[in-house]
Symmetry: C2
Subunit: 311 residues, 2 copies
C-alpha cells in the first residue's frame, strides 16, 4: 500500500458548548481537541488502517503533546512533527451559531503551525510516501504553500500520486500567488475532492458535470464531489456514480469532509471499486458528524465496516 | 488626582472548570475572561474610581474586543490600546492542580500582546499620566521592557511617581539584561509592591525588615509586602505597619495581588493614611479571590467600602 503523506497545520480546537454569537463574554467551553484539517485527515487515514505520516509543527506545550500523542496512538508516522521551542501550538475557538454557521477565533499564522517547513525529517518522511494529499487550507490561510509544493515535487518525482481537497472559500483566492499555486497543485492532482461549489474554483464550466468533465480532460483521474447530507458523486473517464449520505443525527460537522476524503482516498489507493469507495467514505463522514470534536468521530476500519453492515 | 498609566500585556484567560493536571485531553473550560496582570491592575484602578489608562495591543478578534469593551466600560482610558491587524490576542489557559499550584498554556510572546510598543497614542496617553505602574511580568516574560522603560522616562521626566510590582519568579532573572532593567526600574520606584520572596529579588538582606530598610535607603518611599492570606506589611521611613487579611473563602486567587496593588496605590496617591490604605487594599484582594476569573472580582469603590463596613 502506498504510504500517504501530508504537510499542514496541527491545531487544538476549543468548542463553545452552547450555540450563539462569538466569544465576547465568558461561556462554557470544551477542549482542547486535537485538530487541524490535515491532522484530522491523516488521523482518519491511520484509523482506517492505511500507512501515513504528517509533516507539521507544534509548540512545546500540552496542546502540541496532545496532538502528537493522539496521532501516534492511532498509527500516524509522527517522525516529521517538529516541536518548536518557542512558538505556541496553533488554536481555533469555534462556536456554532443557531443557524449552523460558525464563528472562529484563530491563532494560527503566528503559531507553531505557521512555522511548518519541510525539515530534514519532513523530507525523509515524504520521500517514503507514494502519495501526497494536499489541503487547500494549508496553501491559503497559513502561508505553508512552499513546504507543500516542495513535498509535491518530491512525491511526483518518484512517480507518486496526488490528491487535493480545496477546503477553502472563494474570497481567499485573491491572496497573492494563491491562484497560481492552486493551478500547479491541480495540474499534479490524480484525485480531486471538492466540497460543493469548490468544484468550480478553477473551471470555466458552471455545472457539475461540465466542470468534472473539464477537470478530467485536464488530467485529473477521479473527481469526487462531497455534498454533506446530500451524499457524494464520483466522476472518472468511465463512469459517473452518486451515493446518498447515511441518515444520521448531526452533532458536529467539523472534520466530516476530511474523514470522508481520507477514507475515499484509502479505498482508491487500495483498489476498491468506486461504489464501495463512495459508500465507505460516506459512512466515515456520517460517523464523523455524530460525535463532538473535530477528529473524535474518525472511525477505526473494523468499527466502520460493522456499522455499515447494519446501516 | 494623578492619572495612573501602565504599559503591558492584555490577554484572555481560559480556565479549566475542575482541578487537575494540564491540558492533554478535552475537559470542561470556561472563558474567555479579560486578563493580563497589567489589565487586571488597571481595571481595578478604574473601578476604584482613580483616573488611569493602559498601553497595550490586542488582535482584531473577539478576544481583543472583549478586553477593550470591559476596560472602557470600567473607565480605563483605552485610547492607547492598539488593535493589531494581523496578530491574535494573547491567551493563557489555566488549570489549578489539586495542591493549588497551576498549569498554564500560554500564547503571549508571538501574540498581539508581544507586539506592544509605545505608539504615538501610547506616548500621548503616558504623557498625560502623573504616575506609572510597572509590572515585572511585562519586563521579563514578554519582551516589552523597551516600551516600559520609554514610558518610565516620560513620566519621570515630568516629575511623576512610579510603582513597581515585580510579579516574577527568581528563575526568570537569568534572562539577558533583565537584572539591569529591574535595577533601573527599582531605582526610579516610589512604591514597591513585592509578593512574599520577591522582596529579596534585589536586596542583600534576607530578612523582611532588613530588606525593606535597604530599599528605603536606596530611595524607595514605601515598601508594601503582599502576603496573600497572611495580610500585608507597610514599611516607610516613619513606620512599620502590618494588617491581617480578611477571612474569606478563596475561589480563585488569580489577580488578587494586582487588585491589592491597584487599590493600595490609589489610596497612596489620594493621600489616605497607611492604615486605611492597607485595610482597603486587603479588602480588594479579599474580594478578588472570592470570584472566579482574573478581573471578575475587581470591586467598585462603593461596593468595597460597603463590604469593609460589615467585615
Amino acid at each position: 500500500m502506498r504510504k500517504v503523506g501530508i504537510v499542514g497545520e496541527i491545531l487544538v480546537e476549543i468548542m463553545a458548548v452552547e450555540p450563539g454569537e462569538g466569544f465576547r463574554s465568558p461561556i462554557a467551553l470544551v477542549g482542547p481537541f486535537p485538530s487541524g484539517a490535515p491532522a484530522i485527515f491523516i488521523d482518519q487515514m491511520a484509523r482506517f488502517g492505511h500507512p501515513c505520516g504528517l509533516v507539521g509543527c507544534v509548540g512545546e506545550d500540552d496542546f502540541g503533546q496532545l496532538n502528537i500523542d493522539r496521532l501516534r496512538a492511532d498509527g500516524v508516522d509522527v517522525s516529521a512533527i517538529r516541536v518548536h521551542e518557542r512558538a505556541a501550538t496553533g488554536s481555533a475557538f469555534v462556536r456554532y451559531r443557531p443557524d449552523g454557521s460558525r464563528d472562529f477565533v484563530f491563532n494560527i499564522r503566528d503559531s507553531a503551525a505557521g512555522q511548518t517547513t519541510l525539515t530534514a525529517e519532513g523530507r525523509q518522511m515524504i520521500a517514503g510516501c507514494g502519495h501526497l494529499h494536499v489541503m487547500g487550507s494549508t496553501l491559503s490561510a497559513f502561508g505553508l504553500a512552499e513546504a507543500v509544493e516542495e513535498a509535491l515535487t518530491i512525491v511526483k518525482g518518484k512517480g507518486g500520486s496526488v490528491s487535493f481537497d480545496p477546503n477553502l472559500r472563494k474570497e481567499i483566492l485573491s491572496a497573492p500567488g494563491l491562484t497560481e499555486c492552486l493551478g500547479r497543485v491541480l495540474a499534479a492532482t490524480d484525485v480531486f475532492l471538492p466540497s460543493g461549489d469548490e468544484l468550480f474554483l478553477m473551471t470555466e464550466a458552471k455545472d457539475e458535470m461540465g466542470a468534472a468533465r473539464e477537470l478530467l480532460d485536464r488530467g485529473v483521474k477521479v473527481v469526487v464531489v462531497k455534498k454533506g447530507a446530500e451524499g457524494a458523486a464520483w466522476y472518472d473517464n468511465e463512469r459517473i456514480l452518486t451515493a446518498p449520505a447515511f441518515g444520521v443525527t448531526q452533532v458536529d460537522p467539523t472534520g466530516a469532509g476530511d474523514c470522508f476524503g481520507a477514507v475515499l482516498l484509502a479505498c482508491w489507493l487500495q483498489g476498491l471499486n468506486p461504489t464501495q469507495a463512495l459508500r465507505t467514505a460516506n459512512a466515515a463522514g456520517a460517523r464523523a458528524v455524530m460525535v463532538k470534536g473535530p477528529m473524535e468521530g474518525a472511525a477505526f476500519r473494523a468499527d466502520l465496516e460493522a456499522w455499515m453492515a447494519v446501516h
